[in-house]
C-alpha cells in the first residue's frame, strides 16, 4: 500500500515499464535496480532499498524462461523526489494496528512523563484521547519500558487512561547518523507495502523521512523520499 503522494519538486508523476529480475507480488512497493550486477529490477527488501528507482504500480511474475509474449514487466513511478507514503503497521506483517500505550499514572511531572508499557528506542510519540491528536513530540533518547519524558509539555494535562502512539521515526534529523537516526531509516513489512513500526529507531532501509501522518492506530503513515535514486547520481 505504498503510494506516491506528490513530489517535492512539484508537478505530476512519471511512469515507465521495466523488465524484472524477480517477482513483484504486491503493488505499491519500492523497485530497485541491480546496477552492480547488473540485472533487471528487483523489489526492495525489508531492510534495504539500494538503487531504489520508485514505486511499483502493478504486479509481475518473474520467469527465467518466459513464454512468447509473457516476459515479466512492471510499471514503476520513477520520478526522483517522489514522496512515497507507507502505512505504519504495528506488526511485521502488513495490516497490523499500532500498539496503543495507555497512561497509568496521570500527569506526574513537568515536563510531561508518559507512564505506560512502552516500546524501547522509538523516537516520536503522538497522542490519542484527551490530548489533541495533532500534538506529537520528538524523543531523542529513550530506553525505558515503563516511562517516557518529553522535552516540551503537552498543552493539555495527561490523565489516567489517556492513550498514546509511538513510532520509530522522526521528521527532523536527530544525531545525523544513518544507523540510529529516526529520520533516515524505514523498515518494511514482510509484504514490503507498509512500514514496520515495531522496529527500533535507526534500523531498516536508508531513506529520508519526509513527514509523519499521526492518525491513530490504523491510519498512521510515514512519508519518505528515496535517497539512493539512480537519477540522483551525477558521476558513475
Amino acid at each position: 500500500m505504498g503510494k506516491c503522494v506528490g513530489n517535492y519538486n512539484f508537478g505530476g508523476d512519471a511512469a515507465r515499464k521495466y523488465l524484472i529480475g524477480a517477482s513483484f507480488t504486491t503493488a505499491g512497493i519500492i523497485a530497485c535496480g541491480d546496477a552492480d550486477t547488473p540485472d533487471a529490477l528487483i523489489p526492495a527488501t525489508t531492510t534495504t532499498a539500494v538503487d531504489s528507482l520508485g514505486i511499483t504500480l502493478d504486479t509481475a511474475t518473474y520467469s527465467a524462461t518466459p513464454a512468447l509474449g509473457a516476459t515479466g514487466i512492471v510499471t514503476v513511478g520513477y520520478r526522483p523526489g517522489s514522496i512515497l507514503e507507507f502505512r505504519a503497521s504495528g506488526t511485521t506483517a502488513s495490516g497490523g494496528a499500532l500498539s496503543i500505550l495507555t497512561e497509568t499514572a496521570g500527569d506526574v511531572s513537568t515536563p510531561d512523563t508518559i507512564t505506560a508499557t512502552l516500546p524501547t528506542s522509538h523516537s516520536m510519540v503522538g497522542t490519542d484521547g484527551d490530548v489533541p491528536l495533532s500534538e506529537s513530540r520528538m524523543i531523542l533518547t529513550h530506553t525505558s519500558t515503563t516511562s517516557l519524558a518529553v522535552t516540551v509539555d503537552f498543552e493539555q494535562a495527561i490523565n489516567i487512561n489517556d492513550q498514546f502512539l509511538m513510532v520509530p521515526w522522526t521528521i527532523y534529523p536527530g544525531d545525523g547518523t544513518d544507523t540510529s537516526d529516526g529520520n533516515t531509516n524505514v523498515q518494511f513489512t514482510t509484504a514490503l507495502d507498509e512500514a514496520d513500526a515495531t522496529i527500533a529507531t535507526g534500523t531498516g532501509a536508508i531513506l529520508a523521512v519526509y513527514d509523519l501522518i499521526m492518525k491513530g492506530e490504523n491510519k498512521t503513515a510515514v512519508q519518505v523520499v528515496l535517497t539512493d535514486h539512480p537519477y540522483f547520481v551525477v558521476v558513475a
Binding site: M1, G2, K3, C4, V5, G6, N7, F10, G11, G12, D13, A14, A15, R16, K17, Y18, L19, T26, A27, G28, G33, A35, P38, A40, L41, D51, L53, I55, T56, L57, D58, T59, A60, G69, T71, I73, T75, G77, E85, D193, P230, Y231, V233, V235, A236
Partner: protein, 170 residues
C-alpha cells in the same frame, strides 16, 4: 598508386570489417552510469517491427488482460474505454497546482510518443490495485463537507418562496 580515397580527398563512408569499442566517457573503463544500466532494462513497449507487429489496440488489450498499468497521452486516452476494462485513473497530489493530480508522463503505451508532447499523459491502473497505488481525492472532499458549514441566514425572499409553495400545495 591509389590509397582508397577519391582524388579530391573527400571522405567516403566505408564499412570496416571490425568492431570498434569506444569508451563512453572520458576515461577508458569508466563504464555506464547506474541510471544508464537501469534505463537499458526499460521495456520498449508494443512491438513495431515488421516481424511481430502489434497494433496499439492489441497491446493495450494485452496490458489490460494482465492487469498492468496503462499510460496514455491525451489523444489516445479518448479511445480507451477504462470502465469496460475495469480501470481507474491514478491520482497523485500536486500541491503546486501545476497539474490537476492526474498527470503522469512517459511513453504512451498506444502511440509510443512522449506524453508530455501530446497534452500530458494519464495513468490508468487496475481497479483492484487502485487503493494500493493511488491517493483518494474523494476522501478529502468528504471530510471537507463534514468539517463545517456557514451559518444559516434568514432570507425574506426564501421565506416568501416557501410560503407561496406551501399555499399552492394546500
Amino acid at each position: 598508386m591509389s590509397n582508397g580515397l577519391p582524388k579530391d580527398n573527400t571522405l567516403v563512408s566505408r564499412a570496416f570489417p571490425f568492431t570498434n569499442f569506444v569508451p563512453k566517457y572520458g576515461k577508458l573503463g569508466q563504464g555506464f552510469k547506474k541510471w544508464e544500466i537501469i534505463d537499458s532494462f526499460a521495456h520498449p513497449g508494443r512491438r513495431t517491427t515488421a516481424k511481430g507487429y502489434q497494433s496499439p489496440a492489441t497491446w493495450i488489450t494485452e496490458l489490460a488482460d494482465t492487469r498492468k498499468a496503462i499510460l496514455l497521452c491525451s489523444l489516445c486516452d479518448r479511445k480507451f474505454d477504462a470502465s469496460s476494462f475495469k480501470y481507474l485513473l491514478r491520482y497523485t497530489r500536486d500541491p503546486s497546482g501545476i497539474t490537476n493530480g492526474s498527470v503522469c508522463n512517459g511513453m504512451c503505451d498506444a502511440c509510443k510518443q512522449p506524453t508530455a508532447d501530446l497534452g500530458q499523459g494519464k495513468l490508468w491502473v487496475a481497479a483492484e490495485l487502485w487503493d494500493s497505488v493511488s491517493t483518494n481525492p474523494q476522501q478529502a472532499r468528504i471530510n471537507q463537507r463534514m468539517a463545517w458549514k456557514p451559518k444559516k441566514r434568514f432570507s425574506l425572499r426564501e421565506f416568501i418562496r416557501r410560503f407561496q409553495h406551501g399555499q399552492m400545495c394546500r
